[in-house]
Amino acid sequence: MKRGLLIILLGLALGVAGGFAAYFTRTAPQRAILCSDAPEMAWLKSEFQLTDAQFVTIQKMHEHYLEHCAEYCRRIAATNELIRARITTAGEVTPELQQLFAGAAELRAECQAHMLEHCFAVSREMSPEQGKRYLAWVQDQILVMPHEQTDSESPHAAHGH
């Protein structure tokens, strides 16, 4: 009687321990990425199987890109602020507002072209197969229309600046 109980308790303990072991082993790569300094870049390295040399180059390109991106972010924020202020006071679509909207659209086009240029450059640093996969993935992510993206997909992670 006691032996049977002991065997079951041992099975239960091994089951719990095995479950935790399976969980921590399977999630080890993701946890390592999340604990790294730049998780999104570590994810890129893992997802597109970058070599260390490719990763170093792409990371430098990314840092360089972010410097320009910060400038775009500043301009976008300033334009949005101006549009918001004019909308509050105008009460109708004035020629000035139309001009501001045209400027915002132009800025968006400029920013997207710059972003795409960066993505092309990044893909060229990857192996041909991974580069093709990266470009296909990135265009799905970047060229998505606002209404196509659900709330759960909306990235709320900080853009960085």
Binding site: M1, R3, G4, L5, I7, I8, L10, G11, L12, L14, G15, V16, A17, G18, G19, F20, A21, A22, Y23, F24, R26, T27, P29, Q30, I33, L34, P39, E40, M41, W43, L44, E47, H62, Y65, L66, C69, Y72, C73, I76, R108, C111, Q112, M115, H118, C119, V138, Q141, I142, V144, M145, P146, Q149, E153, S154, P155, H156, A157, A158, H159, G160
Partner: protein, 86 residues
Amino acid sequence: MNEAVPPRFQERVWQRVEDADTPARTPMSWFTALFMRPAFATVAATMLLLGGLAIGYVRANHDAAQWNEQLAHRYVASVNPYSHGQ
């Protein structure tokens, strides 16, 4: 007073005494007794171990996929200034 006792009287009396001492077997006690047998207990323990491994693996797959998705969104957000508005 001199009436003869029925045949096997003594044996039946002892049988009734024995039955009264033995608790009635409920389905629960039968189940417990079954699993307390080493052979069944070994099967149950193996199932518990496999069940634990399976639950851990399925849960890990779910979490890993979710974290991957979050990291992908973080990368997109880091290159796309308009990602907040979308």
